[in-house]
């Protein structure tokens, strides 16, 4: 036997550089638009310039006559396919038929009307301009509250009230709580529409092999397997004749947790023309036609006692759904209701959701998906209650937190919080920020006439989606770990990471379990022909659920490794660690590579054991996980201009056990940046006629690197018992925590002027008007 070296260094918990990054930062990664195929054709889509209109006629002749154009398809050509699927179900939900191309009406600006197929993308785009559509414009409605008014234009004529669904949830005795309250505070809070703005827009390549009768769709998606199931249904194609590949995906933030008309349409086109087809979304299309996030108008009422005890919460939630249901559209506000109690102990809640159709692009999951809205609401209401009774915002939180000994904690909305130490996270944040001293500085600043604010947000979130009974499409995740004959390790994960870094974190888990080097591990994902099945990456689930599947696959594999090791060492008493199988009696050992080679050579199989070293595990989580934390933001508002400056940003996050602190910090940074975007800059504005007037990056402000302050990160670590790794998830935490911390801070800054609430985004003009017009907007 060769000399074997036992590897003792462990990698979980270490700051390991990302395996993904070299290809991403050297421009050598393969995105959808990098795919080239012989005979490839290109599609361009004609989209409605009207928010609501009847289509009187479409003349495609001039486009077809354009040299290089191969085909033009309109709504009547695609009647046999579709609809665009909605995966959410709620009692009484009205689901408009969502055709792949508009039929006799258009419902929002950007609604696809026709697709042109041509030899190259320039010809395709030119030909789009040659299609003549005779529209009869109709009145449109873009504001969800106006859509509820009597006499408002009906988005879908069959439902003149524009209501897609209502949803009620109640627990405890809300009326009694409000009757007994010493203080009731009411506030209307808007969580504005946001445009997810992934760096890579969407794109689809579809390739039909007529001989094999099989279709391959390459799409910039977060959910290749679900897409295969749903697109196969929409195309009437057997699922085993469709392969979906998510190549490198340049960000999604939930906007690619969807099945769009274009994926179905390009599959259809490829089968029609018998050539590979490519469609790449422009940034303008991305703004108009890829889902938006948020879109809430929330009416909150909080009841409390003068000692700071919260007694109950009421919420009327108006959700702007847009014109259609995309994959999860109507389900998103129900997540807000689930998380409405936050991390506080009160038991009396009542929530009513009204889902409203508008002539706008649909809303759906965007980083946080329902939880930022809930956290923003409860964190604003707690601050307002504190202000009303003259209590410090930290103190009122300490008073109402669920306590460490109360876990698992059953919430009034039916969740079971796994673990938490909410007071611990806030204490740490106060300590890092130097809270007492900050309050002293604030006193001084106020004496000098400066508008300095300190804002706290303490959040809890629901992550690691999730147990299958509580999710629309299954909440498990799959992993296959294969030790190749040479001892190299291949991991197949059903989670479809797209920038989060699981190629690194999963490799870390493998390294610790099998004693191999990072360079020996390749993590593959995003291809339905490679990975057995999977759910995808969203809802901060990939590591907590997908990583756990990898862990369990490794445990089964290790048993098999030991069996082969025992056979090679001719002993029943062996152990495996650090990449080496050792006979406990003789001390003789064999390496993993030797075992792997023997397992495939299969000259001598252990009794009852198959050849090879492959293990697949589908892990079903018993519960969600519930990360938490506390963010503190110090701001100063320029009295003359209303401009907000973030002076300090302290983020304390507890995401359970940490596999790679560098990646966790990166997730917090990115999350906070997007939270700052909502708090200070971003707003998708539709005018009253349904035109998206923030239609490009020249008007829609996302935070640039220079606009993000230094973020002081710190962590507490409270493992979850939900999975053996103790990990909870961190992808959305920064976004969820950030916006209420910023708004609480700015409201605190302006509170001497009588300001008690400000809706996002906190634009300078809005604040200037508050400052100069006596605290009233």
């Amino acid at each position: 036997m060769a000399t074997t070296i036992t590897k003792t260094e462990t990698l979980v918990g270490k700051r390991i550089r990302r395996k993904e990054d070299p290809r991403l930062i050297t421009g050598t990664a393969t995105y959808v638009d990098d795919i080239q195929m012989p005979g490839m054709h290109y599609a361009a889509i004609l989209r409605s310039p009207h928010a609501a209109a009847r289509i009187r006629s479409i003349r495609v002749g001039p486009a077809l006559e354009h040299p290089g154009v191969v085909a033009v398809f309109t709504g009547k050509d695609v009647e046999g396919i579709g609809p665009v699927p909605c995966g959410a179900s709620l009692p009484g939900l009205r689901v408009p038929y969502h055709s792949v191309l508009a039929r006799d009406r258009v419902y929002f600006v950007g609604h696809p009307v026709a697709v042109v197929v041509a030899r190259d993308r320039y010809i395709a785009r030119d030909a789009v301009d040659r299609i003549e559509v005779d529209y009869e414009p109709l009145p449109a409605v873009s504001d969800p509250e106006k859509a509820l008014e009597p006499g408002a234009p009906a988005v879908h004529p069959e439902w003149p009230d524009n209501i897609a669904f209502t949803y009620h949830q109640e627990a405890g005795d809300v009326d009694k709580a409000f009757a007994e309250a010493e203080v009731v505070v009411k506030q209307r809070i808007v969580s504005q529409r946001l445009i997810p703005t992934a760096l890579e827009t969407r794109g689809v390549v579809a390739d039909w092999r007529s001989g094999e009768r099989s279709l391959t769709i390459y799409s910039s998606t977060q959910i290749p397997h679900l897409m295969r199931t749903l697109v196969a249904q929409a195309l009437g194609l057997p699922e085993n004749r469709l392969r979906v590949v998510a190549p490198e995906v340049g960000g999604g933030f939930g906007s690619k947790l969807n099945v769009y008309a274009e994926e179905i349409l390009m599959g259809f086109v490829a089968m029609k023309i018998g050539k590979p087809i490519k469609w790449i979304e422009s940034r303008r299309e991305n703004f108009l036609c890829t889902i938006h996030g948020r879109g809430h108008v929330d009416y909150f009422e909080i009841a409390g006692k003068r000692d700071g005890t919260i007694l109950g919460l009421k919420l009327k939630l108006i959700q702007d759904l847009g014109a259609y249901h995309q994959l999860l559209t109507p389900a998103i506000p129900t997540l807000s209701v689930l998380m409405m109690p936050g991390i506080y102990r009160f038991r009396n809640i009542r929530a009513d959701i009204i889902g409203v159709f508008t002539n706008c692009v649909p809303t759906d999951a965007y980083r946080g998906a329902g939880r930022p809205e809930a956290t923003h609401g409860i964190e604003r209401m707690v601050d307002m209650l504190a202000a009303e009774i003259g209590m410090d915002p930290a103190e009122i939180r300490f008073k109402n937190f669920v306590r460490p000994e109360e876990f698992p904690y059953e919430t009034p909305t039916g969740l079971s919080y796994d673990t938490g130490n909410y007071a611990g996270a806030l204490e740490k944040a106060l300590e890092v920020a130097g809270y007492r001293q900050l309050r002293e500085e604030q006193k001084k600043a106020r004496q000098e006439g400066r508008l300095m604010g300190i804002g706290i947000s303490t959040y809890g979130e629901i992550c690691a989606f999730g147990p299958s009974p509580a999710t629309p499409a299954g909440g498990w995740e799959s992993a296959t770990v294969r030790v190749e004959p040479t001892g190299k390790v291949t991991v197949l994960t059903g989670a479809s990471p797209h920038g989060q870094g699981e190629e690194t974190t999963f490799a870390q888990i493998v390294c610790d379990e099998l004693g191999v080097d990072m360079d020996d591990v390749v993590v593959q994902h995003g291809d339905t022909a490679v990975v057995p099945y999977g759910i995808g990456t969203f809802g901060s689930r990939a590591t907590a659920v997908g990583g756990t599947a990898v862990y369990y696959a490794l445990q089964a594999l290790k048993e098999k490794i030991k069996k082969f090791g025992a056979t090679l060492l001719e002993s029943d008493d062996v152990s495996f660690s650090g990449g080496v199988c050792v006979c406990n009696q003789t001390g003789r050992s064999v390496s993993l590579a030797e075992i792997a080679a023997a397992s495939y050579r299969a000259a001598k199989l252990p009794p009852g054991t198959e050849p090879g070293l492959v293990s697949t595990y589908f892990w079903e989580p018993p519960n969600f996980t519930f990360p938490f934390g506390a963010h503190i933001v110090v701001t100063e508002v320029d009295r003359e201009t209303g401009a907000v400056e973030i002076k300090r940003y302290v983020a304390v996050d507890d995401c359970g056990k940490v596999i790679n602190p560098m990646l966790v910090d990166g997730q917090v940074h990115g999350g906070v940046a997007q939270g700052l975007g909502q708090a200070l800059y971003e707003q998708a504005v539709y005018d009253e006629n349904g035109q998206l007037v923030t239609g490009e990056l020249t008007d829609y402000a996302i935070p640039k690197a220079t606009m993000v302050p230094r973020i002081e990160t710190a962590h507490t670590e409270t493992p979850t018992p939900v999975n053996p790794l103790g990990i909870k998830g961190v992808g959305e935490a920064g976004t969820i925590a950030c916006s209420p911390a910023v708004v609480n801070s700015v409201v605190d800054a302006l509170s001497p002027l009588g300001v008690r609430h400000i809706d996002m985004p906190l634009t300078p003009e809005k604040l200037w008007r508050l400052i100069h017009k006596g605290g009233q907007a």
Partner: protein
């Protein structure tokens, strides 16, 4: 978008009123107007090639005059449609004599759609004012020359 303002034309209200509804004067004054055809009483169709710096767009449009009260006021309804977007405007023009000339006040609503609405909002206000100014300047020239 609400637009309002006032310009002075060197003519008495009667003549200014007639000029502002005269197809020839309108064709000469509408920015980028290439063709203006009367299609019915008080209704015209027009083709425009609007050029503002690098931006250029062909529009097909309609002009309609309504609620006529000679020589004090009338309503002007303008619609234009092109590949880069569409616009619909409706406003009341009020004419009053000022020192031998006529002050024309306009007050209306303009709705803009398509690409120009989606990417041009930063400049719509200034551009609309510019186009109106060009219209009245041309109309003033016309009034002087005729």
């Amino acid at each position: 978008m609400r637009i309002s303002g006032a310009y002075t034309l060197p003519a008495d209200p009667e003549r200014a009123y007639t000029l502002l509804q005269d197809p020839e004067a309108l064709a000469a004054s509408m920015p980028g107007c290439r063709e203006l055809v009367r299609t019915a009483e008080d209704e015209y169709e027009m083709k425009m090639n609007l050029v503002i710096s690098s931006i250029q767009g062909l529009f097909a449009g309609k002009i309609r005059v309504a609620d006529k009260e000679f020589p004090a006021r009338f309503r002007l309804i303008v619609e234009g449609d092109g590949k880069i977007g569409f616009m619909k405007g409706e406003g009341v023009l009020t004419l009053s004599p000022v020192d031998g000339a006529t002050e024309v006040r306009y007050d209306g609503e303009v709705q803009v759609g398509g690409m120009i609405a989606g990417v041009g909002q930063r400049l719509l206000d200034a551009t609309a004012k510019y186009l109106i100014k060009r219209f009245f300047e041309k109309m003033r020239e016309w009034a002087c020359h005729e």
